[in-house]
């Protein structure tokens, strides 16, 4: 076994020999430049890696629209959108650091393997300096790890699981979107106000990673406020008919049903629950209620009438009336003819934040970007005052608690903002067990060379 048990010294020696042998004619990739894919020409390439096929293709299409808009604005086209309201004034509309912004796109297919293949080709073939996008946590975690290894910055798109900036956080990865913990923390007080502190909750949880973290977050924050969790049942991700899971809810003495489901799952389970008449029931002398921790407009549209009056949380909503949101909705609406979704918003912000960090750092070097983004406080991007926390590269900002609108006026006007939970309430310590505890570390930034 001694052959495959290299000591550190032996390993170094062999690698030095192998390196010298291979490097003799010219050089290894990367050692020519200070960092991976250093842009040398008059342009810089960003990689937009979004699901164009598969279950989240709608979200992906909206993300891509936002990216294209952001690139247009960065290059000085259009009306400048949120660049005008952004608190940092480094971006001048002349690209990033004077280089014209170009981009390549890829299809993640909402599969970690496909997403990594696509990201790798952007890095290895197209020389992308930053990868962004994705609309599921599995993909985000996988691509983030890849970027860490390759020495590229990853700006996460739509990913809500705690793990992205918790258990699986990486120094080269950043997330603007909120997470399960924040959903739970934001929802709990609103629920206590609306439904009282003496409730019995029944959870149906999609049987995968995001479901677990969301259930955990909602449970902990509602239990802390006095609710009791009667039961938590895991449902297969591929389930389309939830009747067999709803029936036992009727038998239990629970008076609240929490659906930790997303996308098609949520549409089906909510529809089933409403069809079973859960919402007209009286249990323990209280009205039976349903809660959906993570809402998206695209999902709400799928569930139609059934979302009326149901509470949930969301990262951003186009009906917000601050200057940033208004500017973004206006330029997005003018270009595409309809209001942007929260996925579009978060990806647009991420692109701007990256560009701004590069301007402030004066370099595209990932380590410079990391330094510029860590602890960066900004405003004017639609969520109010926001902090990119240095400990876990998670954005901390106000969280919106929304409710299905009783009288929607259009197919986009489905949700109404009930309350904006201030950022203090959703802030947590970076080392709490839900986020992987103290052993989850960012590591060091990797410039790849």
């Amino acid at each position: 076994m001694s052959i495959i048990k290299p000591t550190r010294r032996g390993l170094l020696r062999t690698s030095a020999v192998a390196g010298a042998g291979l490097a003799m004619p010219t050089i290894f990739t990367g050692s020519a430049s200070a960092y991976m894919n250093e842009p040398t020409g008059s342009s810089v390439t960003l990689g937009f890696n979004v699901p164009q096929s598969g279950p989240y293709a709608d979200e992906g299409a909206d993300e891509l629209r936002a990216y294209e808009l952001a690139v247009e604005h960065l290059n000085g086209g259009g009306d400048g959108g949120m660049m005008n309201t952004f608190s940092s004034k480094e971006l001048k509309g002349n690209g990033i650091l004077g280089k014209k912004v170009e981009y390549v796109t890829g299809d993640t297919q909402t599969k970690a393997d496909a997403a990594r293949a696509s990201a790798k080709s952007m890095i290895e073939k197209d020389g992308a300096i930053m990868i962004t996008g994705g609309s599921s946590s599995g993909v985000a975690v996988a691509v983030q790890a890849l970027c860490q290894e390759a020495g590229i910055i990853f700006m996460a798109g739509l990913t809500h699981s705690n793990d992205t900036t918790g258990k699986d956080k990486k120094a080269n990865g950043f997330r603007h979107f909120f997470n399960s913990y924040m959903s739970g923390a934001a929802l709990a007080p609103v629920l206590a106000n609306a439904y009282g502190k003496d409730r019995k909750a029944y959870h149906l949880t999609a049987d995968y990673n995001w479901g677990y973290t969301t259930e955990e977050a909602v449970r902990e924050s509602t239990e802390a406020m006095g609710w009791e969790t009667v039961n938590a049942v895991k449902t297969p991700l591929t389930q389309t008919d939830f009747s067999s899971y709803i029936a036992p809810v009727l038998q239990s003495d629970a008076d609240v049903l929490v659906l930790n489901h997303y996308g098609g799952n949520m549409i089906n389970s909510l529809t089933n629950a409403v069809q079973f008449g859960l919402r007209d029931k009286l249990v323990n002398g209280k009205n039976f209620e349903i809660i959906v921790p993570l809402y998206s407009r695209l999902m709400a549209r799928g569930a139609g009438e059934n979302v009326k009056g149901i509470f949930g949380s969301t990262n951003w909503h186009w009906s917000l009336q601050d200057e940033g949101s208004k500017a973004f909705v206006k330029s997005f609406g003018e270009k595409y003819g309809f209001p942007p979704s929260q996925a579009a918003h978060t990806t647009y912000c991420q692109t701007l934040l990256y560009a701004d960090a590069a301007e402030r750092a004066g370099t595209f070097n990932p380590c410079g970007i990391v330094e510029a983004l860590e602890g960066f406080e900004f405003d004017g991007l639609g969520n109010g005052k926001t902090l990119y926390r240095a400990e876990d590269h998670q954005c901390f900002k106000d969280v919106l608690v929304v409710k299905g609108k009783e009288n929607p006026t259009s197919e986009f006007d489905i949700l109404e903002v009930v309350e904006v939970t201030p950022v203090e309430q959703v802030t947590y310590d970076a080392n709490i067990p839900q986020m992987g505890g103290p052993e989850a570390t960012l590591g060091d930034c990797n410039p790849g060379a």
Partner: protein
């Protein structure tokens, strides 16, 4: 050579030459030309081409020789991948234990699945294997989350034990290596406008592929291979002559499962991450497509089919509307818009559509796959030369169908 007949030796040498010179062959266009979009000579894709080549070669040993259509082969690839990542996490960042254990674990799992599934044949066998694969997928995705990482997959962490390795330096990301050579180390050769990339990981995978290909030739030409062909042509008659066919089919199943495990182990070695999607039924379907597209039962066919599909997935899916516009920008506005509009559905997310159309064309006009197409072209040249029809005499690539 190496116990091969002459035509097989020639084929093996061709495959060796193709894999060695792949960085040149796959990068035919200069870096800054418009056609650079179609270059495939970057490390990740080259690695994938040979790894899925191995997967398809293995699948072909089962499907091409015995005719048993397994619709769950991706499960073995996935199980191999998970085993590989665990070796990297627990033992060492060196890829050799990972690859070896992947093959062994996938072999053991395929023995179990094969032992049960091979009690039936035909469509029932396909359904059984499909069921096993979907079961593995569902388990990996949710129930077995502590072992497989569930949705977010499994990847090496700084805090992993790695009992054979010395501790990593502070802040260093764990990366797979072969005695200190990292898989993504490359040597770039700049010749005029061309950049040719020679990647460590690619050549490791390519060596495995050449070995796998050699082994598959030996199996095809062995008495064991002949017995498998007998199973395909008439299993009942074989049974009536007093030969129990199950040991042969089971052996073929396990061998092809081990090939899948090798592919899984290599995938992990090149890119240290494994997710459950790798076992989804579409992944199992893909290897069937690769084999049929290239030519089931031929030696080189599956490799060609794998290359064809992976090329499309990675190259065509990345062409977007912007790139189209630059292609047609020399035309007057209206006409260029028309061309962009016509081609747009077939690129980017439409790569599935393009691939589907090509697959249909191949199946309808070249039932023997791409190999048959090659033979037809070769036959045309030969006919011109000596006027005799010798298209089918190239024994090395004759389809068993």
């Amino acid at each position: 050579m190496f116990g091969l007949r002459k035509s097989d030796s020639v084929l093996l040498l061709i495959v060796i030459a193709l894999t060695v010179f792949a960085p040149f062959i796959l990068n035919p266009f200069p870096e800054n030309s418009v056609m650079a979009q179609f270059n495939a000579g970057y490390p990740d894709l080259m690695q994938r081409l040979v790894i899925f080549g191995i997967f398809a070669i293995g699948f072909n040993i089962l499907f091409g020789l015995t005719g048993y259509l397994s619709f769950g082969h991706a499960a073995f690839l996935g199980v191999g991948s998970y085993a590989g990542v665990w070796m990297i996490k627990l033992l060492t960042l060196n890829v050799i234990p990972a690859i070896v254990v992947s093959v062994i674990v996938a072999g053991a799992f395929s023995l179990l699945v094969g032992w049960i599934s091979l009690r039936r044949s035909g469509i029932y066998f396909s359904i059984l294997t499909l069921a096993f694969a979907q079961m593995s997928y569902a388990l990996a995705y949710s129930v077995l989350t502590p072992i497989t990482g569930g949705e977010t997959g499994l990847q090496p962490k700084v805090a992993d034990p790695r009992i054979l390795d010395a501790a990593l330096e502070e802040g260093v990301t764990p990366r797979a290596n072969l005695f200190g050579m990292f898989m993504n180390d490359s040597y770039e050769m700049v010749v005029g406008g061309w950049i040719f990339t020679f990647n460590v990981g690619y050549y490791i995978a390519a060596i495995c592929m050449v070995f796998a290909f050699y082994l598959s030739i030996r199996i095809f030409r062995s008495p064991f291979g002949l017995m498998l062909r007998a199973v395909k042509s008439n299993q009942q008659r074989l049974n009536y002559t007093g030969i129990e066919s199950k040991p042969y089919t089971l052996a073929a199943f396990v061998i092809s499962g081990m090939y899948a495990g090798l592919a899984g182990g290599l995938l992990v070695a090149m890119d240290t991450q494994a997710g459950a999607e790798r076992m989804f039924w579409t992944a199992s379907g893909e290897v069937v497509l690769m084999t049929i597209l290239g030519g089931a039962g031929t030696l080189i066919g599956p490799v060609l089919g794998a290359g064809f599909i992976k090329y499309f997935e990675n190259i065509v899916s990345k062409i977007n509307a912007n790139i189209l516009e630059t292609w047609f920008s020399f035309m007057p506005d209206g006409i260029s818009d028309l061309f962009v509009g016509l081609i747009y559905p077939f690129i980017g997310k439409g790569w599935h559509l393009t691939l589907g159309i090509l697959f249909m064309l191949v199946v309808i006009f070249l039932p023997g796959g791409l190999v048959q197409g090659g033979q037809k072209i070769a036959g045309m040249f030969k006919n011109k030369k000596d006027g005799s029809d010798s298209a089918t005499s190239s024994a090395s690539a004759a389809p068993a169908e």
